[in-house]
């Protein structure tokens, strides 16, 4: 509203009096005059007439007023220019459509990218003072990219709050909950927040309230927007109702807005609960929370790191020798996104800006080309006294009319365009960034439109206004005079072609990189396999006591596995925990016998059932896999991958070697481990390398252990089926339910193909190839339209010349050459310049996209561009040789 008020104020200073105010005053004067005239003896009707003849019409008075205060320039002259511009555009629908679309593409794409950057990098979080919120880690001093988060208990959080640089601390932890209201049970994710959540986050709820200090110990719940939409159908009366979770009633006290998706660290919660409820659920050790620290204003991260390091060590009582290798590192919560996304978005922004420049060049070319047909009109205007400024102004206003129309279309399109990257690569953007068209974005696009209008309008306007009427007015000669604007065209066309080649080369590189990624050997076969997870019911004491022991739990999991395997169409079912490829996970230290040479060897420990290798088709290279008996015992054996064997063992005699994983049992109260889990294990087999550190990265050493050696409350099943695995989901659910009626498959049932698509590198490369493919196709289209229209216009203009040439005996080939020469030469120059640029671009792209520019794709792009440019010249030029000379000479 402040914007409207500002506009109103500005308008008031320009025109202080309203139309009705001016009219009313004039009417009162009219009436007074009329009465006087009546007094002089005229009839009322005559007096009325006389008053209006002498003083004028009230309706016209407003115009007098605006004229008097100098508003006519705005209203009539500029308004006239705009109206004239609009009319001229309507008269040339073809020209208008091409010009407006060229700009709409560029402005739309640029606005979309800007709104994306705005939403993702400038304002990604809805929290108050989000720039002061830090995510604390312990960072390995030697390797700064290795870090570990830590959790604190309630009292430790309180201690941390007392530290000097700390403004406040939020503790949070996730918990799996199950809705047990009625009907279908559903697994949902709960996030428990310390009760200062409302003030710490400072997000205004959509309805009701956030978790507040007085909620401590009360069973209240706040809903996430998406959960509220899904489960309550967006019912605003959900507040005050009861949600039954894990057979306990919770009162709904609030609904958070759509932009609130707390958070990326613990996982986005469906519901938010007071942390004190954790104590009520658990009867083991005190629950711990991941901390977010909000620093006091003006405290730098470095100062805070230094000040908090001893305090955190004291609070957590970590003083061991080994811990000195780590130091505290506070990370602003935006940083993980900035690192990856900043680069991606900068590259995309560069792409759209190129597109915009190409669009502007196109409009300039069109205006110049069309200007030749308008020379007569402009000459007449100059002849009857229009100043050069007046003509430049009119041409600029016409250009602005085009650019503003383009901007309107572009902004409308950007609303959808901006969502495209989020759809193509959902995991690389913060869940909380909401893309919307807001005031800064509108201001940006208006500024962009004005800038573009002036950019592409100024050169043609200056060129066309420099016009000698004496030469232009005798119109009959226009057909044979040389075109003076040609040089400008050629520069513009060359620039356009060069930039297009730049975009095409980038697109080629991106597409090649992506294709190479898709063709990389995975080491496993993801087709027709899905991973589905189940959470064991740790929160239900009755059920928990049944499966708490390791043996009972393994039996329970095996029972479910067998039931799933019995579903018709399912060929193999394997168990795994945290072993979904190609995902990365932490590596663990281990010890190998007879080797002291490798410093601190690390490997990824994968807990799987023996059928895992069969289900994923990971080949056994040496030795054997473990048996069912060995699987249920869990101890004394291990299988490693080929990378492990070559890196840590001499691969020829890997079998029979011993290894030990002292750090294996990361216990919590829900874990059950086998008796000898940290004892020596014999390597009984070597399997092929399957991607286990992201799709584009080398395979890391892996140790496969029977999953029964360490069981947590969550387990995955890998199901290989005949045909699309998701079609079996229903019967698999039924199979699982036949073991335990309320055992749910978690929301995360997904195919391994999907797991690949969610890989960060994969989705980023796909994003680049699709978007740059689209950009370069648009750029190519624009450049071709530019070339086509230049040739078409010049052929239309030079019909008489061609007629004369034909009559004088030129061959048709010569005529074609004359007609297309300039466009062809400039396009060729553009390609050469583009190629030169691309060799420079190569270095930049290697750095930004992790892909080298391939000469092959570059020359393919250049060839494609050359061919299309040739066609775009030839098609309109055909008209030149079709003209019968006699007719051409009569032309005009």
């Amino acid at each position: 509203m402040s914007l409207l008020a500002a506009i109103r104020k500005l308008w008031q200073s320009i025109a202080p009096r309203t139309r009705s105010d001016v009219e009313e005053e004039f009417r009162s004067t009219l009436d007074a005059y009329q009465e006087d005239v009546i007094c002089q003896g005229l009839s009322e009707e005559q007096a009325r007439r006389k008053a209006r003849i002498d003083l004028g019409q009230p309706a016209a008075q407003n115009e007098t007023y605006r004229d008097a205060i100098g508003l006519r320039l705005f209203d009539d002259e500029l308004g006239g220019d705009i109206r004239y511009g609009l009319r001229a555009l309507r008269r040339n629908p073809g020209f208008t459509a091409v010009a407006v679309l060229s700009l709409a593409l560029g402005i739309g794409a640029t606005t979309a990218m800007f709104s994306l950057i705005y939403a993702v990098l400038l304002h990604p979080f809805p929290y108050a003072d989000a720039d002061r919120i830090m995510n604390p880690h312990f960072v390995k001093t030697q390797q700064p990219d290795v870090f570990q988060s830590f959790t604190l208990s309630e009292t430790q959080l309180d201690d941390l709050r007392l530290a000097a640089p700390v403004d406040s601390v939020l503790g949070f932890t996730k918990g799996d909950l199950e809705i047990s209201n009625d009907g279908l049970p559903e697994d949902i994710q709960g996030v428990y927040l310390t009760e200062n959540a409302e003030t710490f986050l400072g997000v205004r709820p959509l309805f009701g309230r956030m978790v507040e200090p007085f909620d401590a110990g009360h069973p209240v719940v706040v809903l996430n927007y998406r959960f509220w939409q899904r489960y309550f159908g967006g019912d605003p009366h959900a507040i005050g109702r009861t949600l039954e979770m894990d057979h306990a009633p919770y009162t709904i006290v609030g609904v958070m807005p759509r932009s609130f998706a707390f958070n990326d660290v613990a996982g986005v919660g469906d519901v938010y609960l007071p942390a004190s409820l954790m104590d009520a659920v658990a009867n083991g050790p005190a629950p711990t929370y991941l901390p977010w620290i909000k620093l006091r204003p003006h405290v730098t991260v470095a100062t805070a790191n230094a000040a908090l390091e001893p305090i955190v060590r004291e609070i957590m009582k970590i003083h061991s020798e080994a811990s000195l290798a780590w130091h505290l590192g506070l990370q602003p919560i935006i940083v993980p996104y900035q690192q990856d996304l900043g680069r991606t978005l900068a590259l995309l922004l560069a792409g759209v800006v190129l597109l915009l420049i190409i669009g502007c060049a196109n409009c300039s070319i069109l205006l110049l080309a069309r200007g030749r047909t308008r020379r007569h009109e402009l000459a007449i205007r100059t002849a009857i006294g229009a100043s050069r400024w007046r003509i430049v102004r009119q041409l600029l206003v016409e250009a602005l009319v085009i650019s503003c129309t383009g901007a309107v279309l572009g902004v409308a399109a950007s609303y959808w365009l901006a969502r495209l990257p989020l759809v193509l690569s959902p995991d690389s953007f913060p869940a909380e960034s909401v893309i919307r068209i807001n005031a800064p974005i509108l201001a940006f696009s208006v500024a962009l439109a004005l800038l573009c209008g002036i950019l592409f309008g100024l050169a043609p306007a200056l060129r066309l206004s420099r016009n000698d009427p004496a030469r232009s007015l005798p119109g009959r000669q226009a057909g044979v005079v040389a075109a003076p604007a040609r040089r400008r065209w050629s520069v513009l066309i060359a620039a356009q072609v060069a930039l297009t080649l730049l975009l095409m080369a980038t697109a080629g590189t991106a597409i090649r990189g992506f294709l190479r990624l898709t063709q990389m050997p995975l080491g496993y076969d993801p087709a027709n396999v899905m991973a589905l997870g189940i959470s064991l019911h740790v929160d239900n004491p009755a059920e928990w006591s049944r499966i708490q022991s390791r043996e009972a739990r393994a039996a329970y999991i095996e029972q479910i596995r067998e039931k799933i395997a019995s579903v018709p169409g399912v060929s193999t079912v394997a168990v795994g925990a945290n072993a979904t490829p190609p995902g990365a996970d932490v590596q663990t230290s281990f010890v190998v016998d007879r080797s002291g040479d490798v410093e601190e060897p690390q490997a990824r420990v994968m807990l799987v059932g023996q059928r895992y290798f069969d289900a994923l088709r990971i080949p056994l290279l040496q030795g054997r896999l473990w048996s069912t008996d060995e699987n249920s015992r869990g101890d004394f054996i291990a299988v490693v991958n080929r990378t492990f064997a070559t890196r840590y063992l001499s691969s020829s005699n890997a079998l029979g070697r011993q290894l030990r994983i002292p750090a294996l049992p990361f216990q919590n109260r829900f874990t059950a481990s086998s008796a000898q889990s940290t004892a020596w294990r014999q390597i009984i087999g070597v399997v092929g390398d399957a991607r286990n550190d992201g799709i584009g990265r080398p395979v890391v050493p892996a140790i496969y252990l029977p999953y029964t050696t360490l069981m947590r409350q969550y387990v995955d099943f890998f199901v290989r089926t005949q045909g699309d695995p998701l079609t079996y989901l229903h019967s698999i659910r039924a199979a699982v339910a036949s073991v335990a009626s309320d055992q749910q498959i978690s929301n995360g049932a997904s195919t391994l193909i999907e797991a690949i698509e969610h890989d960060a590198l994969y989705s980023r490369q796909r994003l680049f190839s699709i978007l740059f493919g689209v950009f370069s196709a648009m750029a190519l289209g624009l450049a071709l339209v530019g070339i086509f229209s230049v040739v078409a216009y010049s052929v239309a203009q030079r019909t008489t010349e061609f007629g004369i040439r034909l009559a004088l005996g030129s061959s048709r080939t010569e005529i074609l050459w004359v007609a297309t020469r300039i466009a062809l030469v400039s396009a060729a120059a553009g390609i050469v310049i583009g190629l030169a640029f691309d060799s420079f671009l190569g270095a930049v792209l290697t750095h930004w996209m992790q892909n080298a520019v391939a000469a092959g794709s570059l020359f393919a792009a250049a060839a494609l561009l050359a061919l299309s440019a040739f066609l775009a010249c030839l098609l309109p030029a055909r008209h030149a040789i079709r003209v019968p000379p006699a007719e051409a000479l009569r032309h005009e």
Binding site: E25, F26, S28, T29, A32, T64, Y65, D67, A68
Partner: protein, 113 residues
């Protein structure tokens, strides 16, 4: 009846300032007063009259306010602002000077040159 006088360009605004300086007046009142002071000899072009008023108001020399006219009609009354008073003084001085110079020249006889 005396012969009507045509107004030189630019003087209408000065006359309006003068008329308003004698007391707040509405538009028609200003018109009547100028005619009255001039002894009905000035023929004011009606069209240019309001243009002059608007321009004076825009420049901040007169200020308009709505009020009740003598026969209970709503009318906009104009009064002189401080800037207007200064302007009127300057214009009057300028006009008197110019008139004196022009009159002096016109009244010169051949032998006086």
């Amino acid at each position: 009846m005396t012969k009507p006088v045509e107004l030189p360009q630019g003087t209408l605004e000065m006359l309006i300032l003068k008329a308003v300086s004698l007391g707040a007046l509405h538009g028609y009142g200003i018109l009547l007063r100028i005619q009255q002071i001039s002894g009905e000899r000035l023929e004011i072009l009606q069209g240019s009259f309001y243009t002059a008023i608007y321009r004076l108001e825009r420049r901040g020399w007169i200020r308009g306010e709505w009020g009740e006219s003598e026969n209970n009609r709503r009318a906009r009354f104009y009064s002189l602002t401080a800037a207007g008073t200064r302007q009127l003084k300057a214009e009057t001085a300028k006009w008197t000077d110019m008139a004196a110079v022009v009159a002096g020249i016109l009244h010169k006889k051949a032998d006086e040159i």
